[in-house]
């Protein structure tokens, strides 16, 4: 009965697109380099940060909101982790503190959006700028070098890289929450018709607070993954990441108007963008081609979705 199990699941479109684009590149790349396991692993690794962020963004967009602070929060997280490690903290403590800070920031955004009814776009635009500034300040305007103390192995080049499995597990947990809990139902209800949700006794402000807190917690975890690849704290990192994340969610079939969306769709959306990027590199295409292709995919995704929707509503 969950929204994801409707007759034609929302993730089907992005899944088909992913398979088609992958096979296309597999067919045309020289020496079948695209088909190798090593390449699949690399693409998986490269999708981890955007993918984890997209999990939270899916929740936010289903409630009818948006979060522009993602990139800045990832950068801030890498800085916090690096500073703590440099100051002698254990990796565990560093990660916990960084994720907790991210969660608190998300809760704050949620309070602004939920309780004070401020526009999510404006609130998170402000957060984006303020968090970027905080990251740069905390890092004293430079990259922080430190001993990663094993955190760099989160996303190493093997199948046993914990980062990939953490991302998969998180996706499963969030999909479970969305599809099989009362809270998940309320997330959809708030985005679909907030007045109706309130009429039925649902505290829509609380739902939003939890959603933004959860989303930023996931961004914090993604920030740890980012640190793992960078192995430094970089306050200027991940500029514009939020747009990739939003694109992944939109390609995944979630309209910005809210009320709909699926975790699986967003994951496929994130993978699709990585495939295009990697494929372009394998083909030796200049990076501008890959940007254009990604842009066209976003247009097509939204257009196909809109046509489907109109047909259903008729």
């Amino acid at each position: 009965m969950s929204v994801m199990s409707l007759k034609r699941p929302a993730w089907l479109g992005p899944f088909v697109a992913l398979v088609v684009v992958y096979l296309l590149f597999a067919a045309i790349t020289p020496e079948h380099s695209f088909l190798r396991t090593q390449n699949l692993l690399t693409m998986g690794r490269q999708s981890v940060v955007v993918g984890i962020c997209a999990l939270g963004m899916t929740l936010v967009i289903i409630t009818g909101g948006i979060d522009l602070s993602t990139g800045s929060l990832v950068a801030l997280t890498t800085v916090i982790v690096a500073r703590l490690l440099k100051g002698g903290s254990s990796p565990f403590v560093a990660v916990m503190v960084a994720v907790a800070v991210a969660a608190a920031i998300g809760a704050l955004i949620g309070v602004c959006v939920g309780r004070f009814r401020l526009m999510p776009f404006v609130v998170t635009l402000g957060a984006m700028t303020a968090l970027r500034g905080s990251a740069i300040g905390l890092a004293s305007e430079q990259k922080i070098d430190c001993d990663p103390k094993g955190l760099d192995r989160m996303l190493d080049a093997s199948l046993s890289a914990p980062g990939i499995w953490i991302a998969v597990a998180l996706a499963a947990v969030i999909a479970g929450i969305l599809g099989y809990t009362r809270f998940g139902r309320h997330v959809f209800a708030v985005g679909s018709n907030e007045a109706a949700a309130r009429l039925c006794g649902i505290d829509s402000a609380r739902v939003k607070i939890v959603v933004y807190a959860l989303s930023s917690t996931l961004v914090g975890i993604a920030g740890v993954m980012e640190f793992s690849t960078l192995t430094v704290g970089d306050p200027t990192d991940s500029n514009g990441l939020e747009l990739d994340v939003i694109a992944a969610v939109v390609i995944g079939g979630a309209p910005l108007a809210g009320g709909e969306g699926s975790i699986l769709g967003s994951v496929f959306g994130a993978l699709l963008m990585t495939v295009i990027r990697t494929g372009a590199v394998h083909m030796g295409m200049p990076s501008w081609v890959q940007y254009i292709v990604t842009g066209v995919i976003i247009f097509v995704a939204v257009a196909v979705d809109s046509v489907r929707r109109r047909r259903v509503s008729r």
């Binding site: 009965m1 969950s2 929204v3 409707l6 099989y180 809990t181 009362r182 809270f183 998940g184 139902r185 309320h186 959809f188 209800a189 985005g191 679909s192 018709n193 007045a195 109706a196 949700a197 009429l199 039925c200 006794g201 649902i202 009320g259 709909e260 259903v312 509503s313």
Partner: protein, 508 residues
Amino acid sequence: MTEASPAQRALLSVSGIEKAFGRVVVLRGIDLALHGGEVHALLGENGAGKSTLMRILLGIEHADRGTMTLADKPYAPRGAGDARRAGVVMVPQERTLCPHLDVVENVVLGIEPAGPFGLLRSGDALELARRSLALVAGEGRIPLEARAGAMSVADQQLVEIARALAQGGKSARVLILDEPTASLGKEDADRLFDRVKALKESGLAIVLVTHFLGDVRGHADRYTVLRDGKVQGAGDPKVVAAERIVHEMLGRELESLRGEAEAAKGGAGYRDGVGRGGASGGGAGTVLLDVRAVAGARKPRDASFVLRRGEVLGIAGLVGSGRTELLRAILGLDRVKSGVIVKQAPRGIGLLSEDRGGEGLMLGRSIADNVDLSPRGPLFVDPRAVRAEGARWIAELAVKSSGPDQRVGDLSGGNQQKVQIARLLREDFDVLLVDEPTRGIDVASKAQVLELLRELARKGKGIVLVSSQLDELVSTCDRIAVLRHGELGPARPTADWDEEKLLLEAAS
């Protein structure tokens, strides 16, 4: 008044309820008895106090004085949650389902059966929804996995009733239906009442808030009329004559009111001016608009009329009769399914929207910007000219404001309406379609707005006035036609109508 016989104890009884908002007294001692197994119609014009009374029953408002008892126990809900738990639930007039969720999810919204960690018990949810829907719609009538947004309005309504009952839990005892047939066609309405009958027979006390006398006479066991915050009449609608119920709704003061209206007309010289005479003679009476058998996607279903220069044509109709839809179809805002609209208005047709804040005005912009909004006009705009134009219209229509730069949202309802009218006048349209022009504005502005419409007609415009205020139709129009369930009756001279006749025609 309340007819509670000892043999049949009331399920929910209300006595001596009074309520005032500030200095405005809305309810002045209401007594009401609702019985299980009965449909009780609550009638009254807009502003009679029906909604306030319902909100008190639901715990959303609290009475200043008076008591309520539910099943022989004192009943004083502190909020909607309390009322729900006690089994008193309402289906509001506007649809409030989540369009993206399916039927089951909508029915159990907010009361989802869940285990540890909030994990849904979908089997229980399905069962709960199925049980509730079986009661409301009959077994298997509505597919449980259908998306609410893709269902017909009639089916959505049934789902809403099922949701209300499910939320009342096992103890659901009083079901309030607010204008349930307003957005339904005739057949769907009949089908709904079949279900209401089944619910009634299951022992529920059903309150039917409505304007449709036909529904009341066909399906209610008892009625109560509210007017000016008081119970004006009650009884068995199958026995009491419709004329009498209408009389109770409109009140005895009607005669005197009409006298005043006539006097006002005489004073302003409306009836003997160009407006009246113009309709029959000279170039002033040329046809501006000829509407023949027009039907829209849903409403209107069949509307024909002719509008001439110099006249005000009134259209009376209840909520949901298709009034706004008719005007939108004429203007071309909505698709016309069949029929012909001959427009002979060289300067075009303008619409005064009933939804001032939604589509009539830019509330956040200045008076001048609103007046100036037009598809025509020069490529470059001189802000000083816009201000001057704003100032001119403020003077012309006596808009009370601090100047052309004031935000329209800060004006009173009446002055907002004048700004909207100013925009239409500036375009100099030949035909004005005027939808509920006096909604939410004070008495003095009301009179001014209506007088302005008369004056425009005198100057040779053609005006279609849609209003649910029967007195203003009778006082302002040259001819009036009644719209009922999307079908427009013939336009007859105002002298042939009075408010009671209009209401009888519209509500039957």
